[in-house]
Symmetry: C2
Subunit: 357 residues, 2 copies
C-alpha cells in the first residue's frame, strides 16, 4: 500500500523519507531549456535515451506546467509562481509550483511528479477503478508514473475555481503485459452560475474530445459528474468537465495525443472566464457564499478525492497534496439559500447536473 498513494496525481509524488532535499528556485521566465534540463535529473538513463513515451509524456507535462504558469502569472499581474523541487534517488522527482496572495488568485498551484517505484499487483487493484483481476497477486512490479495536477482558486466570487490532472502509468514490460494506462480530466467549480461561461468551458472540451473520438465527451462528462460528487451533501463539487481513468483501449500514442490536447486546452478553456470576472463587483454575501463553496471543496478533497485521501494515508508530501485546498473556507451551521436567489440557482445544478453543449 505504500506506493499506492503515490499513484494518484502529482500531489502525492514524493515521500519525505526519500527526498534528497528541497530547493526553491524562482522560475519567472521558464524556457524550453529548463524543461529539457529537468528531464536530465528526473528520468532514469534507460528512459532518457531515445524517444520513448515515458520521456515524451514527462517532457510534455513539464512544458505544459511552465506554459500554464506563465499564462496565470500574466493574468494575475502581481504574484509569481515559486517552485519547490525534489529529486528522488534512482530517478524521479517532483516540481510543485505555487502562486499565493496574487491580485487575481488567492492560491494557484501546478504540481508535476515523476515516480519510479515497485507496486504490489494487489495494490494496483485499489489504484484504479478497474481492478484488472489482480487482487490476489502479491508480486511487486516496477512502475513509472508521471503526473501533472493543478488547482486554481481566484479571489473574485464570480471567477470559478479550476482543477486538472493528467497522468500516465506504465509498468515494466508493459508492451507484453498490457499494464499501462492514462487518466486525467479538467473540471470547473464556480460559486455562481454564468451559463455562457460553463458552455464555453464544456464546448472547448467537447471540441477536443470530438477530434479524438465522438464518444469521448459524453462518456467523460458523465464520469466527471459521478466522480466529483460530495456524496454526503448530494451535491457535485462544481459544474464538472471531463474525467477519465484506466484508459488503455487503443494505441498509447493516440491516448497520449488526446491527453496532450486536453492539457493544451486548459488555458483557453479557463483563462478567459477568469479574465472576464476578476474585477466584477461583489457583496459581502457573495464572498461568504464563495467561502462556503470553498468549504465544500475542502470536504470533497479531504473525504473523497482519491489522490488526497490515499496520499495522506500513505506518506506523500503533505504540502504538495494539500496545495489543492483554498486559502480560506467557511462553514455555517444548517445554511439555507434563499429561494430564487443566484445561490439557489447554482445549488440546484450541483444537485442535478445539467448538459451544457
Amino acid at each position: 500500500m505504500q506506493t499506492a498513494g503515490k499513484l494518484f496525481g502529482g500531489f502525492s509524488s514524493a515521500t519525505n523519507k526519500r527526498d534528497i532535499g528541497v530547493r526553491v528556485i524562482s522560475a519567472e521566465s521558464p524556457t524550453a531549456q529548463q524543461a529539457e534540463e529537468l528531464m536530465e535529473t528526473m528520468l532514469r538513463p534507460q528512459d532518457k535515451a531515445g524517444d520513448g513515451l515515458r520521456k515524451r509524456f514527462a517532457e510534455n507535462i513539464r512544458r505544459a506546467q511552465l506554459e500554464i504558469c506563465n499564462a496565470i502569472e500574466e493574468l494575475d499581474g502581481g504574484a509569481k509562481f515559486h517552485e519547490d523541487a525534489w529529486d528522488r534517488e534512482g530517478g524521479g522527482g517532483g516540481r510543485t509550483r505555487v502562486l499565493a496572495k496574487g491580485n487575481v488568485f488567492e492560491k494557484a498551484g501546478v504540481a508535476l511528479s515523476v515516480v519510479y517505484g515497485n507496486m504490489p499487483l494487489k495494490a494496483i487493484s485499489v489504484a484504479t477503478e478497474d481492478p484488472k483481476a489482480l487482487a490476489d497477486e502479491t508480486d511487486n512490479l516496477p512502475f513509472f508514473v508521471a503526473s501533472i495536477s493543478s488547482v486554481m482558486h481566484p479571489r473574485n466570487p464570480f471567477a470559478p475555481t479550476m482543477h486538472f490532472n493528467y497522468r500516465f502509468f506504465d509498468f515494466e514490460n508493459s508492451s507484453e503485459n498490457g499494464l499501462w494506462w492514462f487518466g486525467g480530466g479538467t473540471d470547473i467549480t464556480p460559486s455562481y452560475l454564468v451559463e455562457e461561461d460553463i458552455k464555453h468551458f464544456h464546448q472547448s472540451y467537447k471540441d477536443v474530445c470530438d477530434k479524438h473520438d465522438p464518444e469521448f465527451y459524453s462518456r467523460f462528462k458523465s464520469w466527471a459528474d459521478r466522480y466529483f460528487q460530495i456524496k454526503h451533501r448530494g451535491e457535485t463539487r462544481g459544474l464538472g468537465g471531463i474525467f477519465f481513468d484506466d484508459m488503455n483501449d487503443r494505441d498509447p500514442e493516440k491516448i497520449f495525443a488526446f491527453s496532450k490536447d486536453c492539457l493544451d486546452n486548459v488555458v483557453s478553456a479557463y483563462v478567459p472566464i477568469v479574465a472576464k470576472h476578476k474585477d466584477d463587483d461583489f457583496t459581502q454575501k457573495n464572498k461568504e457564499w464563495q467561502q462556503m463553496r470553498r468549504g465544500r471543496y475542502v470536504e470533497f478533497n479531504l473525504v473523497y478525492d482519491r489522490g488526497t485521501t490515499f496520499g495522506l494515508r500513505t506518506g506523500g508530501r503533505v504540502e504538495s497534496i494539500l496545495m489543492s485546498l483554498p486559502e480560506t473556507a467557511r462553514w455555517e451551521y444548517d445554511h439555507k439559500v434563499e429561494p430564487n436567489s443566484p445561490e439557489a440557482e447554482i445549488l440546484e445544478v450541483f444537485k442535478n447536473p445539467r448538459d451544457w453543449v
Copy 2:
C-alpha cells in the same frame, strides 16, 4: 454498516429519511421539566418505565446539555443557542443546539442523540477499538446508544477550542451477553500555549479521574494524545485531555458515575480559560495562525475522526455531524513558523505531547 456510523458521537444520530420533521425551539431558560419531557418522547416505553441506566444516562446528558449551554450563553453575553429537534419513529431522536455569531464564540454546538437500531454483530467490530471477536458474526442485534457531543470555537485566538463527547452503548440482553460499553472524553485545542491554562484543564480532569481510579488519568490522557493525532502532519490536533472507549471492565453504575463526573467537569475546566482570554488583544498574525490551526481541526475531523468519517459515509444528518467544523479556516502553502516564536512553541508541543500534571 448503515447503523455503524450512527454509533459515534451525537453528531451522527439521525438520518434524514427517518426524521419526522425538524422543529426549532428557543431554549433560553431550559428547566428540569424540559429535560424530563424530552425523555417522554425519546425513550421507548420499556426504557421510560422504572429507573434503568438507559433512562438515567439519557436524562443526565440532557440535563448537562442544557446546563452547559446556559453557561456558554452567559459567558457569550450575546447570542443564544437554538435547538433543532428530531424524533424518530419507534423511539429515539436528536437535539442539536448551536450558538452562532456570538460575542465570544464564533460557533458553539452541543448535540444530543438517542438512537435505537439494529446492528450486525460484524459492524460492532468496526465500531469499537476492541472488536470483541465478533468479526465473523452476521446476526443483527438490537441496540440503544445515547450520546452527547460538543465543539466550542471562540473568536479570540488566545481562547482555546474545546470538544467533548460522552456515550453509552447498550445491546439487547446486555446483562447476559456483556455487550455494553461507555466511551467519551474532553480535550482542548489552543492556538497559543498558556501553560497555566493547560495545567488547570488537565489537573481538573486528573482530579475527576482520581476520584474513580488512580490509573484512569494517565491511561486516558495517553489515549487522547494517540487518538487526536493528525497522522499526515505528525501533530496532535490540540493539547489533549482524556479519551476512553469500550469501557465495560466494572459495574456499569461505577462507569456511569465516572462519565457523569467528567461531563459535570466541562464547565469548570473550560469556561474560566475562555473568560480569561476572550478580550485579549491580538494581531492579524495571531488571527491567521488561529485560522491555520482551524484548518488542522478540519483536517483531523474530515480525515480521521471516527464519528465524522463514519457518519458522513453512512447517512447521518450532515449538519449535525459537521457542526464541529469551525466557521472559518485557512490553509497557506508550506507555512513555516518563525523560530522561537509563540507559534513555534506550541507547534513543538503538538509534535511532542507533554505531561501537564
